[in-house]
């Protein structure tokens, strides 16, 4: 510890800390532009110049480490003179366009100029003008305003892994850019809007829509992945204006993924359902809530009477709130049905009886950064959970080795030390090979049946390297990613990943799709477990897939669009279209819904309701509604409460959502963040076939209805369109050229899709994304397909 003095105030500061850190911690403000606590020190704006006793010239506080006995003056005549002079230089080339600049009101330059700038400019020469750059649909550039702090450059290199940004040229000719025309695409790019201290980089969708001082802030939780990033929803006159990150060091630090930041655009989409509607004959009629709910009740009652309660099923979005989920399952179980599920995209349910309490990260997000080795299985983590990828990237910067077993040679923003890229089915073989290498390495006994399974498995160099690196690491993690969770080999992948974790002493992590799959498992939105995790043996309900395959007489859907949100849209759509009665609680209305549903109930997206999400760590995070619901929309928990009352079910007299949450939390019981499972040996390994296998990748901007309706996100390069991506070999075999339109057949369904050729796809595999416009109504996300050039 060093004893120092700032402005006469004695302080004890850790050795090696910079003067600016010491001052920040003591609440002493030093003006700055380039310094940022999350980025490396650049010391190029010079705004933080301060006087240090016995030093002849002012020194930059951000790049001067404290030493014992140091006396610092931040407001002495020398310091102030230096700061004012720097300010004058910075303003020389800065345009005076604050009235039309979006940064106005939240601009560091504006704020600091009020304190340190002069009212009159002494500069009469021409100001410099810099051409703007087009960096995509999310970020507006006005490079003339740039003051070359290089925060965006450092963010790119240190956080997002954008290595192409830099500052070229010199002096007045300095430019921030890529020098060579290159696309800068990142799923975290929106953070440069927050980092930019001036109006050079601002939000394109938010442009010219408002001033920060007109907005109200309410705290909320992002609803598009299992991280639960903390956000601030800015509203004006009951309209959502934008989403901003809220600081939470334990979760998203100060960052926000573009998906969480720009999803708000989907909230005001024209598809929003304004009032309850019922179908009479073939006519849709807007009605009041009472009529609609009674109609829903009567419809369900009729089906129950005629077909029995076991023939109704409820499907809940994995991004619904804990309160909604809890009430949905409570209602279903009260009327006697266990047919409830949230695993809409999941294809394999065979290990659900031994599944862990919930899909858990198994450690805290901050702990993830301390790993020395990480194995990704079926995960495009950069796009699936951008904030978790950021944590992994920080781990790699400290030397962690990341390895991947995937069905696509995904583009990651951190180095991959070892990788095995195989067809989805053969990923099981790869995990088996890694298991075999680990057994040899550790000499530990094999679990029951494992020896037989592994007898013919060939261990490649990559497999044994992965085993070695995992085993040799002090702290390691095996991540079963979101893409793996949707594969039909889930049970086998999960069993072997668990064995690998156990043999190598690694933590097992599973990352689900949706914002609240953890909440769904904990509150019993699964057909085989109650809220609290007790197994339902008698009258075990049907899972999502069974409900669709066998068909139900009635469906209750909560924020589900079966044509996009399910593992097999063609089967799901057939099931809902064939059902006698369908209630859809939804924020949006589509033509498809009008075809299959009988009652449409407008329910709130997360910005318009209070609720709770449980993230992959198991952290419960509650939020209040930021705006009152649109038109006749109501929070889904209230709708379910009233439905409970109409059904005359006991215990539905909640007054607030907190009442529901407390009951759910109490019933959910103690959290168990371990993913450890009872061993169940995979029955066999993949048989090689000549068939072409579809890889139903779930792209970043296809995950839910809100994101799919965010126009700006859909215009980014990350919004993968309906297409078929194959490698050059497969293209050659089938005589297909890049950009051809070909016919893809899956069972009876045929689609014409544009071809893209990429080397990152294994042989005999074709990526056809799921959840995107243009493949709705297609068959299973992972199954055999045929490609042909003729229709």
């Amino acid at each position: 510890m060093a004893n120092i003095e700032i402005n006469g105030k004695p302080l004890q500061v850790a050795d090696g800390a910079m003067v600016i850190e010491a001052a920040d911690n003591a609440g002493i403000t030093i003006p700055r532009f380039c310094y940022h606590k999350k980025l490396s020190v650049a010391a190029n704006c010079r705004m933080c110049l301060v006087e240090v006793d016995k030093v002849a010239k002012p020194v930059p506080a951000c790049a001067t480490p404290v030493t014992d006995g140091m006396k610092i003056f931040t407001k002495s005549p020398m310091a102030l003179d230096a700061q004012k002079s720097v300010m004058e230089f910075l303003l020389i080339n800065h345009p005076l366009d604050c009235p039309i600049c979006d940064q106005g009101g939240e601009c560091d330059l504006q704020d600091i100029a009020v304190g340190f700038g002069q009212g009159i400019s002494r500069y009469h020469e021409a100001k410099r003008v810099v051409a703007d750059k087009n960096i995509g649909p999310l970020i507006a550039t006005e490079m003339t305003r740039c003051i070359h702090c290089t925060r965006c450059v450092r963010f790119g290199q240190e956080v997002a892994g954008i290595m192409e940004l830099g500052a070229t040229g010199r002096g007045e000719n300095t430019r921030i850019g890529t020098y060579v025309e290159r696309t800068v695409a990142s799923e975290m790019s929106g953070n440069v809007i927050d980092l930019c201290p001036v109006g050079a980089l601002t939000s394109k969708p938010y442009r010219y829509t408002g001033r920060p001082w007109e907005n109200n802030q309410s705290k909320s939780i992002a609803a598009h992945d299992c991280v639960g990033s903390n956000i601030e929803i800015e509203t004006r006159r009951n309209k959502v204006m934008r989403f901003l990150p809220d600081d939470n060091e334990a979760i998203n630090e100060i960052w926000l993924s573009d998906r969480d930041r720009f999803s708000y655009l989907g909230l005001k989409h024209v598809d929003r359902l304004q009032s309850p509607m019922i179908k009479q004959g073939d006519e849709w009629k807007e009605t009041d809530w009472q009529t609609a709910l009674n109609y829903a009740f009567e419809g369900l009652k009729t089906v129950i009477k005629k077909e029995g309660v076991e023939n109704i099923g409820a499907l809940v979005s994995p991004s619904a709130t804990v309160e909604e989920m809890y009430l949905a399952q409570k209602l279903m179980r009260a009327i006697g049905s266990n047919n409830i599920d949230h695993r809409l995209r999941q294809a394999d349910f065979s290990d659900q009886d031994i599944a862990p309490q919930f899909p858990a990260l198994g450690q805290s997000l901050t702990d993830l950064e301390n790993n020395n080795a990480i194995l990704l299985v079926g995960s495009w983590i950069r796009k699936d959970q951008p904030i978790i990828a950021h944590r992994i990237r920080q781990a790699t910067r400290k030397g962690a080795k990341v390895m991947s077993v995937n069905a696509v040679d995904f583009d990651f923003n951190f180095p991959i030390e070892e990788k095995v890229i195989t067809s989805p089915a053969q990923m099981v073989d790869s995990l088996a090979a890694i298991t075999k290498a680990l057994l040899t390495l550790t000499g530990k006994p094999a679990a029951e049946g494992l020896d037989d399974l592994l007898s013919n498995v060939k261990v490649s160099d990559a497999h044994s390297e992965i085993a070695k690196k995992l085993h040799g690491a002090e702290k390691a993690t095996v991540i079963l990613g979101t893409q793996a969770m949707l594969q039909p080999q889930l049970a086998d992948l999960r069993a072997l990943a668990n064995v690998i974790a156990e043999l190598s002493g690694a933590v097992m992590s599973t990352l689900s799709d949706g914002a609240n799959a953890a909440g769904a498992w904990l509150t019993g939105v699964v057909p085989h477990r109650t809220c609290g995790g007790e197994a339902i043996v008698e009258k075990c309900g049907k899972n999502a897939s069974e409900m669709f395959v066998s068909g139900m007489n009635a469906f209750v859907l909560l924020d589900v669009e079966p044509e996009f949100d399910t593992a097999n849209p063609s089967v799901a759509m057939k099931a809902v279209n064939d059902a006698d009665f369908v209630i859809s609680m939804t924020p949006y209305v589509t033509e498809e819904m009008k075809a299959y549903a009988d009652v449409l109930l407008p329910v709130s997206p997360s910005s318009e309701t209070s609720g709770t999400f449980v993230n992959a760590e198991g952290t419960w995070q509650s939020f209040a509604g930021a705006v009152t619901p649109l038109a006749e929309t109501r929070p889904a928990w209230k709708v379910l409460r009233v439905l409970g009352n109409i059904f005359e079910v006991d215990g539905f007299d909640y007054i607030t959502s907190e009442d529901v949450r407390e009951e759910a939390k109490q019933q959910a019981g103690t959290l168990n963040t371990s993913n450890k499972m009872q061993w169940r040996c995979p029955s066999s390994l993949a048989k090689s076939t000549d068939a072409v296998n579809r890889i139903g990748l779930l792209p970043i901007y296809a995950v839910d209805g809100v994101v799919r309706r965010s126009e700006a996100l859909q215009q980014t390069d990350d919004a993968i369109p309906a297409c078929v991506i194959i490698n050059a070999d497969l293209a050659k075999q089938n005589n297909i050229q890049d950009e051809d339109n070909i016919v893809v057949a899956q069972n009876d369904v045929k689609l014409t899709l544009r071809v893209h050729i990429e080397d990152s796809i294994p042989n005999n595999c074709a990526v056809i994304p799921q959840g995107v416009q243009g493949v709705e109504g297609f068959d299973a996300a992972y199954s055999e397909i045929t490609l042909s050039t003729k229709s």
Partner: protein
């Protein structure tokens, strides 16, 4: 669209054997893990082998050889005036216009050269023989005004002396 992109084709072959050897001499002057310290020399060597100017590919080759990000090399190359990013004439005439030279008459030097060669600062003669360029302090203030042609400094310039020097060039 989704996949890991293989690094662009290696561009190392663009640097000649002799250049690489010369760059190695510079790399060896620095600690083994600080290869990038040789970037300025490497760029100069690359420029010399390419008729006095750098191309994007050559800068990429330097980046590859020194394990640097290409943008970091572009940053250096665009910062210093001795690196040329466009084709230049056979003789590069650098005229210092910083304060000492300016006080001693660099304006006259620039004016005379412009008139004699028929080009403005930053331009190259049509026959490709001369490029005229304004540079920052050449560190020879004591004998201002100064210009540099190739590797040679010409000091205490007068119009007559400039004529002599230029006329003597091939």
């Amino acid at each position: 669209m989704i996949g890991y992109k293989k690094k662009d084709e290696s561009k190392l072959h663009l640097l000649t054997e002799a250049s690489l050897k010369e760059i190695d001499v510079w790399i060896n002057k620095y600690p083994a893990d600080k290869k990038q310290s040789a970037v300025m020399s490497a760029l100069r060597i690359a420029q010399d082998q390419n008729r006095g100017f750098l191309t994007e590919d050559l800068m990429d080759a330097v980046a590859e050889y020194l394990d640097m990000r290409p943008i970091a090399v572009y940053e250096v190359a665009t910062f210093y005036s001795m690196y040329e990013l466009e084709p230049v004439g056979k003789h590069k005439i650098y005229v210092c216009t910083n304060i000492s030279c300016m006080l001693c008459g660099s304006d006259t030097v620039v004016g005379h050269l412009s008139k004699k060669l028929g080009i403005n600062l930053g331009e190259t003669t049509v026959d490709g023989r001369f490029t005229l360029k304004e540079v920052e302090c050449l560190g020879a203030c004591v004998n201002a005004p100064v210009m540099q042609i190739g590797d040679t400094y010409h000091e205490n310039l007068t119009e007559e002396k400039i004529d002599q020097v230029i006329d003597a060039l091939d």
